[in-house]
Symmetry: D2
């Protein structure tokens, strides 16, 4: 399989998510990181590039510089795509610059700082005819794909109720005052967005619910709170949701749920069956009904593949050999790079490869975040979530 050349913007020393992107992209051995700008400080960027084994020539001082010079390279040397893993406020300008220069883009979430940016990015993507992917990595888990496929196939019957929660405890104290970089930009409205935990993790929960159910949110009612005294963004949010087709839901996102680690979980109930999935025990999916024992479906088995080719494609190891966060993240990359590779070879990609979050998901994420912020400030009960 042809190796793709990857560039990166962001992901300097100590940036948890940049490292994850690099590992995920390279997990299957068919992507190589060849260029990047890793920090707003040129020196730091260079140091990081060296550490990553990049040539000095392709460790850049700014993303504009990078766009310029990568574009100038011969086609068989220049990067095939760039991963944007900066704090949120830079997603838009960086993605825009690369797209307009003809590069495919993988971007971390939430997609932009504002709905306006998101709508503009959608147009830019369309005009650019480039691949744009958003790393809502949790939809990369095989059992999430199985869940979606069981819902699609009608196993649950008509859907009724969705509960999705994302409790974390790491911001229980004012970590941002201890020099903790990620806490700092995530709690800075200018860099992380005004929505705090809703933007940071609530948008994952929203994406997960929509991915599995295939339904859009129509309106919502939110309560946002800032518990840590002096913090400038909300660190806890609870949202009542009305989805299409009369489905009701509740979405919880919290970063002050002390002692919780990364507890994304979802329950979906139809009129025939229900299902339950937990990110911290990702290899299994619980399926329930009133008429028989509840079932625990386990990744890597033939009976899973029989119901969800997407889940099978997203598995690398046999049953009982647990896969986890990194593999799920890599599944997003694998699908994106398969599509990019097919563009290069002018072939049809595996139809299952188109299964990654795109600019529409990103826009819906921003519309969700925006509606939550509006609702939190409103005395009106229901706030509409626009379709686009």
């Amino acid at each position: 399989m042809t190796q793709l050349r990857m560039g990166m913007v962001g992901g300097g020393p100590g940036a948890f998510i940049g490292d994850v992107h690099r590992r995920a992209a390279c997990l299957d051995g068919d992507v190589e990181l060849v260029a990047g700008v890793f920090s707003t400080s040129a020196a730091t960027s260079r140091r990081m590039g060296r550490e990553l084994g990049l040539s000095r020539a392709r460790t850049y001082g700014s993303y504009l510089d990078m766009v310029e010079r990568e574009r100038a390279l011969p086609a068989d040397q220049r990067i095939d795509f760039v991963s944007v893993v900066t704090p949120n406020h830079l997603h838009f300008p960086v993605a825009k610059a690369f797209l307009e220069a003809g590069f495919h883009v993988v971007c971390d979430k939430p997609m932009t700082l504002t709905v306006t940016e998101a709508r503009r990015l959608k147009q830019i993507v369309r005009r650019s005819r480039r691949v744009f992917a958003l790393t809502h990595n949790y939809t990369g888990y095989p059992m999430v794909k199985l869940a979606r496929d069981l819902v699609r196939a009608g196993d649950l019957g008509a859907l009724r109720k969705v509960v999705v929660q994302y409790p974390q405890g790491w911001l229980s104290t004012r970590l941002e005052r201890t020099g903790h970089k990620q806490a700092m930009w995530r709690t800075d409205p200018a860099r992380g967005g005004a929505a705090g935990c809703i933007g940071d993790i609530g948008s994952h929960a929203e994406n997960l619910a929509e991915y599995i159910t295939g339904l859009r949110m129509l309106e919502l009612c939110a309560d946002l709170t800032t518990f840590a005294r002096g913090r400038r963004v909300a660190d806890d949010g609870s949202v009542l949701v009305r989805f299409q087709q009369g489905v009701r839901g509740v979405l919880l996102a919290s970063q002050i749920s002390v002692g919780e680690e990364n507890g994304l979980a979802i329950w979906v109930y139809g009129d025939r069956k229900g299902l339950e999935w937990h990110q911290e025990a990702p290899n299994v999916l619980r399926v329930t009904s009133q008429d028989g024992p509840f079932e625990v479906w386990s990744r890597g088995n033939r009976y899973v593949a029989a119901r969800s080719p997407a889940a099978a494609r997203a598995s690398r190891l046999p049953a009982g050999h647990p896969e986890a966060f990194l593999e799920a993240f890599a599944n997003v990359y694998r699908n994106v790079t398969d599509v990019i590779r097919a563009r290069h070879t002018r072939t049809r990609p595996d139809p299952l490869a188109a299964d990654f979050p795109d600019v529409d998901d990103g826009l819906r994420g921003m519309l969700f975040i925006d509606a939550v912020v509006k609702s939190a400030a409103s005395r009106q009960k229901w706030i509409k979530v626009p379709a686009r």
Copy 2:
């Protein structure tokens, strides 16, 4: 220990909860059922009385008859208290009649059909100077008492967030059309109340949250839904809650969560620690923090008794010998009957015995239900929950 004589109103053949009350009251061998009216049909009532080994003379045809004739018996024969286990619409008149005749009353929840009735009952109880208890049985679990005591002692620090959920699936289909008695009255607004699942199980969730946190709800915002076509009450409800002291919460109650059995569970987060408890695994309490391993406290151990004499008092078996629903229910009865017994002997009851839900809890439950129903019909976001 002197045996107390118990009477019962309701709890005829096939009534799940009547049987539970009888078993719970008698579990410790110091209560004896001696009189009752078990059905609106005198013949059925008599048949039930016979089955329960009651004398014919004390199996009555109506509760008014029972009040009359029990009152006429010598003090050492007449019942010491009555348990009211009828459908909800009869709680008020029956409790009223017995209280006014000088009997202590144990009443199933929700306390009444309306707030007005609840407020009147409160006055009646006060004037009667009788003991009145409400069987919010889930607060009888030892690990719930431990949870409350850890909160009280400040282990969690300042409270911030409460999530309480009560998913069931048994009303996923229109069971009420199959002749299922309990489904029938519970989905009949005239007998079960207008709030459906919120009255039936949401009130348990409300009571549990208030019991553990010691905080009252100030305002709430609810979404109620009826999913089963043709059903006349809500079978699903989600509620945003604002408690005293800035504590935020979410309360979920659902009877269409297909495949769920009786999944009452609660999470409470403070600024130091969090806790989690599940009714279906009631012998353990999870305590979490950011700074160390999470802990699983297990019923029956000395380290539990050291932190919660109430939990120790509520345990009958050593650790590892699981106790469950029936014992928790019996704990409510044991506390109530200890208090009644102390009245008889003009002694002070064990201070721990006063730990059972009373008419104030019942009134708060009705105020909660009422606020939820109002909120569901309102376009205004926050609905106040009156203090009394």
Copy 3:
């Protein structure tokens, strides 16, 4: 239902298991404790009788006295059966005395101190034509009955492997030197038997394995250890087992598994399916296969009743309302007393009522214990377990 009159030998103040027997026997309200001798000290026995509300006349000073005087009472007053809940060394003489006097007997396990006693007791029971039951209470759990019924029905295919374990930690230290009564007699070879943990809890594991599989042990190979320095009986044992029909097994019993509470658990594997059950989470049974999701069967559901009427009969509460240790114990009593009651009325008992451990189970238990002790002392690998 006619109340049966129960007598008790043993179960004085602080005796955990005596209290359990009383509660279990009386749980369904159709048994009344009317007589007993509760201690070798007459004064203590009297005090206990008073506490239990017995008449002074029927609180005896010795079991021989009790046999004598109960026999002399009119048939409609004398006890219908006696429960023997003394330390192990008294099981045989007490049971013998009551059986020979014409009383039915319920006896705690292990049945006797020696195989010789066990064989004699079997003859005594046969000659007496009385009901004799042994409280291997764990077989009273509904999900254990379901497990047995699934095995019987062939769901697992031909059985292959059984793993049964019973880890406890309460004897990790020399509790017997702190005045702890139960630890004292259980670690005294003269009162608890020479086999220590194998007699005390290993025999439960053996009984559970045989109950579910329907297979006898043919030979075994054991390693017994005494870890607590100075203790006179083994506090840990591991046993390789060969059952009938080529089934292989492993049985573990330990009282020094520090931190474990009462972790009896069993795994049974056939050539088609497997099953797993844990005493500390007794309301569910896991069923596994290679071809589909694993299943969790949950007590109280119709699909359980459909496969196991015995499990349904052994349930008092609906699904999700957990039942536990006490109910399981009571199920043994209910079956025994139903059979006794049928004897009284010369009717056929419910065929499901014959489902309780009897003198043959008790003898097999003693043969197992004896073989383990022999094996532990032997350099020979396999020690036969005689059939009777």
Copy 4:
């Protein structure tokens, strides 16, 4: 960090474990696969090499050819180490050839077919002065390292009891007759060894127990069974074990435990605390005591790093972002390659890097397997496990 050049012998199309080795070795981006022989068929080997992006020149037709030609390459081109991932019978000759030619070797387990080979290999390794590592990958899990470090630090007190089990169900049927390659060689005594499941997975269990406790097995007593009719090796084994220092143990390995996936798990009990770890939920370690709640230690937290720098070094992601099988496997490679790299640079490796299974572990594994096979055939109870 300098990239190391890796060669591979074995791991052709469809070989599960070869793919795992490649992914694991390359996970951290500092190892590159550059040469190999992937099959006994030269054509298949070439096809595989092409698929893996190797140059044709370095895809060899036999391992002897590979040794010869790699040795002839300039030092800055030839492989730095080779991974041997063939069926078991080839481990010895292949490892020998590479070691004697001066290459470092990573070898899959069990190390050899026979004890004689193992002893010879140990001498060869010593003489060669090369690094030799065995991929007992389960010891690569961070929480296993934490377990070892808690034991070492004395948290458990004096050890008493070890239970280690490795149940699988995939060989419940005669998969080897369906053309399933891995089932075929694993059930062929000539290629997989005579010990069947004991060699394949029992040796992992043995290694895990010794790794965590630091204790060697002194003697054992085993029961081996072949359940699948016609199979030529044992598919189930149970072993009583006596470790150094009076510690007793039980080791179970089974490939007919129908419905189990890859259930390696261990319990270790000391006189103060106990611990429990499950491979299928590898991110947590349960720690128990008699005196307080049981604790669940979770990977990625500071309190884990504080007690086990080795666990911290073996973690790539923060708490709540689960790591799994692949990362654990990669941890073995990372330690080995750090040591090899230090050799190259004549520096001291990180002291924590020496933490991987070596030829002594491999020899002990073979001595264990050999003793089990002897015991299974013997009428004598205890069979010694030689120290070397």
